[in-house]
Each structure stands twice: as structure tokens, then as C-alpha cells.
């Protein structure tokens, strides 16, 4: 019978199907960070359990990490959480890429870098943006702390089989339009719960044309559509990314093992005629640069569109839209290109990879950021930082007046010192524009790195399709 990519991965990971209809799924990689793991390790201690497969479990510290003076965590509660991870990894024999490691970074950035993320596997992490890894044709999902403990103890996870949702992007993207705009467009169309209960498979000409890093951006925000996971079938782009990392990807297969793996990986693609539970086609050539105007990622419009009337926002009640406009300090009918910005954040597991920084640098080269604007540029990992500095991107950023930082989650969620203040308006390449996400009272507009860089120069949003 014809199977989807998802069904192939699922079927090869079912350990057993339980009497209640759920399945016990085997987990190939368990990624860990400091925020959602402490209580899970404590649970193991209390019940006298061990980590079943420490060799499949990998940890880093990212959420609490300061991006300036990174070795000096001033907040004692943050410090205690980071220290707890170090101790837990030591006690339970888990590999940790800590602040002294040259491989430290945002957990979803370092997984692919290390070659931990390969097609046809299952990956979990106590973090909703685990969906990022789906870019490799990997069933990757975010889990809660109880489930983290479950995977530590058993290397399995009880799961109800999700439904499948095929999203095809036909045609070619316009120049300057990116994977970030594609995923924001999709979320605008189906809403932040439109994917709930589904695994999304992205396909079509515009998806095939994306680089691995762009595919990661796309899969990263699958959770913002409510989906359990996002998937893209592996192809030559995927194989090249894994192979070209060389020694930089110590956990990826090499030589003969790699050749054999490619044969298996090629067989993962959805079979012709396989059935999906839901399907949607989007013409990629018509997608404009996207900007969110509200407090939910589905509150998104084309950059050249005015802020909407709250009574006419698809998928949101008038009350919800009014609350969002009030919080954001915006009036209906105002073009977004007239909205003044205070801060720019370029980074995060969504857009903190080297290609994102190259794009931002291409806009900022030889220019200056607008007067009074704060511009944080935060590489997603130490590897991204080194690569950017080797290419001289850091100099371009500094000469433009940007603040070049160390690797971490930074202002994406403001668990560290990088935060917005009340009323501060930010063009951010991150993934969530929830109230208070980047700091209490902060106002977040989600955009691509290109849009953020152009906004840094002008101090307001610009339609980069027409911009000089």
C-alpha cells in the first residue's frame, strides 16, 4: 500500500501497540536543555531509575545563557538551572555541550550541525521547536517534562498516531521572499490551531528549491500552526548538507555507511498515490514578505497591506483582534510601513543560522542602522559564530552599528538578560509574537532576516521587493 513519508517513519519505530490503541514509539535521539529537564532528572532519582540510552541523549544550555558576558550568569536562579543541568548530565552520563564547548548553541541549531539529525529517525526534546529537525525527513516533536522523564527512562514514548496534512507550495518564490514568509503565510491561512493533531508534510517546487537551512526555518514554525511535527522529504540537498559537514558532523554516517544510508533515505519519500487526511496547495509565486501585526502568529499580513479592521480578521474573534491591536499599539488601516521600530532581533532557532546572517549582512553592508535603534545579532551556535567571523560578517554588523553577540536563545523568549521593555517595538526573526514573549509589554513583529535587516536601516518596515 502506498505510504506517506510520515507513515514510513512511524511504522519503522513502533515498538508495540498498546491495548488502548496508542503505540509505543522508539526514540532515536533525545535532545535536552536546561529549562525542561531538571524535574525529569529529579523524577529519575526519586524512583531510582537510570537513563536507558545515554549514548542517544545529548544536552546543551541555551535559554538562560547571557549573550554578552556569557560565562557570568548574574541571575542566581538562572545559574542554578544551568548548574543543575551540568550535574544531571554528569550523574547520568549524558553528553553535554556546555558554555565551555565550541559546539554549544541553541539546541535545534546544534542537532543538525553535529549530524545528530538524519533522515528517517525520531527526535524528541522538551521544547516545542523540535519540529525544526523535520526538515531532514525526521519525525521530530516537542514534549513536556513528564515525557522527557519517560524517554530518559525508557527511550520510548506512548503516542497516538497523528493525522497527515500535505501542504504543497507550487511555483517559484519571488526574489527577497523566503521560507519564513512561506510558513507565516501558511499559518495566516490555516490559523495557529489549523495543524493541531496533524503532521504537516511540506512539498512542491518551492520547497524543493529551499536550502536545508531554509527548510529548517519552515519546519521550525510548524508548531505555530499547532502541528505535532513538520516534515520535508530528504533529497540531494539533504544528503549534501549531511555529507559536506564532514568531521564537523561527528554523529552522521560517513564513507560506506553514508552511501548505504542514502539508499535508505531515498526510499523515505511519500509514495505516489499515498493518501493524506488533509491537503492544501499554496501558490508560492504570489507570496509577499510577511509581517505579523498582532499577538498570535496567525495575525499576519503582507508587508504592503494595512493593519486590518478587527471585525475582519480571519480565524480570530473581534474581541481577540481588538485586544491584540490594543496591546500592539496599532490602529486599523495604518500601513505597516509607517510603523516605527525600536529594536531589531536577528537570531533564534528559527533564523539564527549562517545563511540568515549572510542575508542580513548583505543588506547591512556599508550601511548604518537607523539612529536610536537597538539591533541585536545573535548567532544560533558557536559554530555559526565562528563561521560568521571567518567570513567577516561580524565586522559588517559592527560597522553598521549592530550589537554582535554570543550564541543562545537571546530575545526569542527573554529568559536571559536580552529583553524588550514595556511598549518597545521589535522586528524579530524569531517565532512567537505572544504578549510579553520578548519581555513584559514588549511588542513583537515576526519577519524574515531580510525584512529585519532592511527595517534596521530604515527604522520602520519596508517592502523589500521594491527597496533599493
Amino acid at each position: 500500500m502506498a505510504k506517506t513519508l510520515f507513515e514510513k517513519i512511524w511504522d519503522s519505530h513502533v515498538v508495540t501497540t498498546l491495548p488502548d490503541g496508542t503505540s509505543l514509539i522508539y526514540i532515536d535521539r533525545h535532545l535536552i536543555h536546561e529549562v525542561t529537564s531538571a524535574q525529569a532528572f529529579e523524577g529519575l532519582r526519586l524512583s531510582g531509575r537510570k537513563v536507558r540510552r545515554p549514548n542517544l541523549t545529548f544536552a546543551t544550555m541555551d535559554h538562560n545563557v547571557p549573550t554578552d558576558d556569557r560565562m557570568n550568569i548574574k541571575d542566581p536562579i538562572s545559574k542554578a538551572q544551568v548548574d543543575a543541568l551540568s550535574k544531571n548530565c554528569r550523574d547520568f552520563g549524558v553528553t553535554l555541550y556546555d558554555l565551555n564547548s565550541e559546539r554549544q548553541g541553541v539546541v535545534h541549531i546544534i542537532g543538525p550541525e553535529l549530524g545528530l539529525t538524519v533522515p528517517g529517525t525520531t527526535i524528541v526534546c522538551g521544547d516545542s521547536h523540535t519540529s525544526t529537525h523535520g526538515a531532514f525527513g525526521t519525525f521530530a516533536l516537542g514534549i513536556g517534562t513528564s515525557e522527557v522523564e519517560h524517554v530518559l527512562a525508557t527511550q520510548t514514548l506512548p503516542q497516538t498516531k497523528p493525522k497527515t496534512f500535505r501542504v504543497e507550495f507550487t511555483g517559484k518564490l519571488a526574489p527577497t521572499v523566503t521560507a519564513k514568509d512561506m510558513i507565516l503565510k501558511l499559518i495566516g491561512l490555516i490559523g495557529t490551531a489549523g495543524g493541531t493533531g496533524y503532521v504537516l508534510e511540506y512539498c512542491g517546487e518551492a520547497v524543493r528549491a529551499l536550502t536545508m537551512e531554509a527548510r529548517m526555518t519552515m519546519c521550525n514554525m510548524s508548531i505555530e500552526a499547532g502541528a505535532r511535527a513538520g516534515l520535508i522529504a530528504p533529497d540531494q540537498t539533504t544528503f549534501d548538507y549531511i555529507a559536506n559537514g564532514g568531521a564537523g558532523r561527528p554523529f552522521a554516517p560517513k564513507g560506506k555507511a553514508f552511501e548505504e544510508a542514502v539508499v535508505r533515505w531515498k526510499a523515505l519519500a511519500t509514495d505516489p498515490g499515498a493518501k493524506f487526511d488533509r491537503e492544501l496547495t499554496i501558490d508560492a509565486s504570489k507570496i509577499a514578505p510577511q509581517v505579523t501585526w498582532g499577538t498570535s502568529p496567525g495575525m499576519v499580513i503582507d508587508v504592503d497591506a494595512p493593519v486590518p479592521d478587527p471585525s475582519n480578521v480571519p480565524g480570530y474573534t473581534r474581541l481577540d483582534a481588538e485586544k491584540a491591536l490594543e496591546y500592539m499599539g496599532l490602529k486599523p488601516g495604518v500601513p505597516l510601513t509607517e510603523v516605527k521600530i525600536d529594536t531589531i532581533f536577528i537570531g533564534s532557532c528559527t533564523n539564527g543560522r549562517i545563511e540568515d546572517l549572510r542575508v542580513a549582512a548583505s543588506y547591512l553592508k556599508g550601511r548604518k542602522v537607523a539612529k536610536g535603534l537597538r539591533t541585536l545579532i545573535v548567532p544560533g551556535s558557536q559554530a555559526v559564530l565562528r563561521q560568521a567571523e571567518a567570513e567577516g560578517l561580524d565586522k559588517i554588523f559592527k560597522e553598521a552599528g549592530c550589537d554582535w553577540r554570543q550564541s543562545g536563545c537571546s530575545m526569542c523568549l527573554a529568559m536571559n538578560p536580552d529583553q524588550l521593555s514595556v511598549g518597545e517595538r521589535c522586528a524579530s526573526t524569531s517565532n512567537r509574537n505572544f504578549e510579553g514573549r520578548q519581555g513584559k509589554g514588549g511588542r513583537t513583529h515576526l519577519v524574515s532576516p531580510a525584512m529585519a535587516a532592511a527595517a534596521a536601516i530604515e527604522g520602520r518596515f519596508v517592502d523589500i521587493r521594491k527597496w533599493k
Partner: protein, 212 residues
């Protein structure tokens, strides 16, 4: 985990859609490495004035009629956003055992009332999530508006919710058999899975994890 089968408590209304986990518990409270103490931080940014201590009288759940409430009725897509189980710990530790949210229809596809990871986390912490149609949830909101402080009862075994308005209104709800068993039994998932140890070991012996 605390089992739940029969439960009666005050209904509290939070008439907002897409309540995300950053609103349920803001990030500054995720730094704790304990499993307790999250209750007072529930809905922190909405619940307190700027001083972070004084209850905001404008926030609906701060009305005296809802003091001690244990059944929350809210809008679609409750718990969207991050995987933080702290959100469920905050809900449970602030006294809520049941959350009711509406599913909505989107061009023939049913959009669930709760975000996936949040709902899953609830099932690991003895919090029952009930999904009803939008019109049924509207009836509950109306009952609370007519009589703030009205109580509701849940009979999980019978999959029945009753709002003790006058007249009483009752709803049958669907729930996955796995979640129902776990909540009624207060079962520990890990203990259940470890009974399948032999299957896991057999699976591992032939499975390629593709790690170099």
C-alpha cells in the same frame, strides 16, 4: 499523579481564544528546578497589576465569585505555544482540575479545543481537558454569566459534565480511552511502559538508530 473521576467545583470563565503558554505562565517562572510553587504565577501578567502582587480587579478570574474555582471554561486553542509543562503545573497548583474548551469547524476539518502538547501534559498531571462544540461552550459561558459562582460536576467514567445552573444543563464528552484510564487510575506512564521492557529490548536488537 492525583487521580480524577468525580469532581465538583466552581466554574470560572476565561473568554479568550488562543491563550498561549506564555500567558499561562511567563518565562521568568520557568527557571525553577522544583515541581511545585507555580500556582500563584498562573496568568501572571493578566492577574496582577504592574507591581506583580496586587490582583488586577479588571481580570475576570479575580472576581470574588470565582475564588476557589476548579473548573475553567475558555476559548479555542487553549495552551498553544511552548511545550512547558510548567503551564499545566501552574493550572493544577492553582486549583484547577478540569478545563473546558470548544472545538471549531474549519472548512470541514475539526480544530481541537486544546493545543496538542498542552493537552498531553494535562493528561500526565491529573488535569482533565474536555472538548465540546462551540454552541455548548457558549451555553456554559451564558450559565456562568447568569449566575457567577455556579458549580459544575464531572463524571469521567460516564463522560458527563453537568452545570448546576437552573435548570441544570448536561453534556456528554468524548475522551481517548488511554487518557481516561490514566486519569481515573492516576497511573504512572513510566511504570506502565516498563511492563513492555522485553518488547523494547527486542526492538532495540534489530533497530538501526543511525548514530555514527
Amino acid at each position: 499523579m492525583k487521580p480524577i473521576n468525580q469532581h465538583t467545583g466552581i466554574l470560572a470563565p476565561l473568554k479568550r481564544s488562543n491563550v498561549d503558554t506564555d500567558q499561562i505562565i511567563p518565562k521568568q517562572f520557568l527557571k525553577s528546578i522544583a515541581r511545585t510553587g507555580f500556582g500563584p504565577s498562573l496568568f501572571f501578567d493578566w492577574r496582577y497589576l504592574a507591581d506583580g502582587r496586587t490582583p488586577d480587579p479588571a481580570f475576570e478570574l479575580n472576581r470574588p465569585e470565582f475564588k476557589g474555582a476548579s473548573v475553567l471554561v475558555t476559548g479555542n486553542n487553549f495552551g498553544c505555544g511552548s511545550s512547558r509543562e510548567h503551564a499545566v503545573w501552574a493550572v493544577e497548583q492553582d486549583g484547577y482540575r478540569v478545563i473546558i474548551a470548544p472545538w471549531v469547524d474549519q472548512g470541514g476539518a475539526r480544530i481541537p479545543g486544546f493545543a496538542d502538547i498542552f493537552k498531553n501534559n494535562c493528561s500526565k498531571n491529573g488535569v482533565l481537558t474536555i472538548e465540546l462544540s462551540g454552541s455548548d461552550v457558549e451555553k456554559i459561558f451564558a450559565a456562568v454569566a447568569a449566575k457567577p459562582g455556579v458549580q459544575a460536576s464531572v463524571d469521567l467514567a460516564a463522560q458527563k459534565l453537568t452545570v448546576h445552573s437552573s435548570p441544570e444543563i448536561s453534556f456528554r464528552f468524548d475522551i481517548s480511552p488511554a487518557v481516561k484510564d490514566r486519569l481515573i487510575g492516576g497511573l504512572d506512564d513510566i511504570g506502565t511502559t516498563l511492563k513492555h521492557e522485553a518488547s523494547v529490548t527486542a526492538f532495540e536488537s534489530k533497530h538501526n538508530t543511525q548514530i555514527a
